[in-house]
Point group: C2
Chain length 157, copies 2
């Protein structure tokens, strides 16, 4: 008799797609992104602009390469987005405090105000995602997701 493997998340022969981790993750994030994109569109904001503003708010300053990773964007798209955001007065390109040779992006005062308007949309969207998930389960989920990201990320952050 051949050995059968019954690993949650990566089963040898799934009976339902809900037993496959990548399927659930893809379904969830596709729906999340579609819904969020719709809400942002009403405010005239793109997903990549939102991700850029949130990343800069949290980290203070980031290089273009770091922004590509956090905002999940290719460099040409990110460069065009940053040009547009600079034109709108949301960001400034400056010399890094930490290393004079490095150019970084920072939020302007207008960018910080923009974050204050956009952030509740993100919080509400994440809250809708996690509705009725208990605080213990949320903490557990975040710990496992961090472990998974550690397994597959190609960037050290």
């Amino acid at each position: 008799m051949s050995e059968t493997r019954d690993v949650p998340g990566a089963p040898d022969r799934p009976e339902r797609l809900g037993q496959l981790a990548s399927y659930l993750l893809n379904r969830i994030i596709h729906r999340y992104n579609q819904t969020l994109q719709g809400e942002l569109k009403q405010k005239g904001v793109t997903t990549i602009t939102m991700r850029t503003v949130v990343s800069l708010k949290i980290y203070g300053e980031l290089t273009v390469n770091e922004l590509c990773v956090h905002a999940i964007a290719e460099q040409p798209t990110m460069s065009r987005t940053l040009d547009k955001m600079e034109g709108e007065g949301l960001i400034a390109r400056e010399i890094s405090d930490k290393d004079q040779r490095v150019r970084v992006i920072r939020l302007t005062d207008v960018g910080h105000e923009f974050y204050d308007r956009i952030w509740p949309v993100m919080t509400d969207a994440n809250e809708a995602l996690l509705k009725e998930v208990s605080p213990e389960d949320r903490a557990h989920l975040m710990r496992i997701l961090m472990q998974i990201l550690g397994n597959i990320r190609q960037n050290p952050f």
Copy 2:
């Protein structure tokens, strides 16, 4: 003093992006899809073809609408994919066993063989995702992800 909310996954003011559920989910699934796409490309297979074959293997027969949901594709893309797959002899369009009025898609024998070749790629990719995540944590993760999908899905399956 204003009340501060510290909800894991949807915090009021995250100190790191790793505290935001949607950020971790997006980073993980983007990297997963990029890696899997690269491996499938070497075999001349697209992501949507793989998802279609796996969905049909598990469910036996599905309508085009059901396939769109499971394979996360818009209807025009799915229709083109199904035309191509029918031309390659992987699928057949038939009358549903359950309802004579409904047209469904099924795998042919060639399609079943194709699944046998493609499935290990999926299992390995999911295994890489969940590397060193304990069986208990995997089971817990799958349960929480099912709950989250239940929160946000627009389709009943």
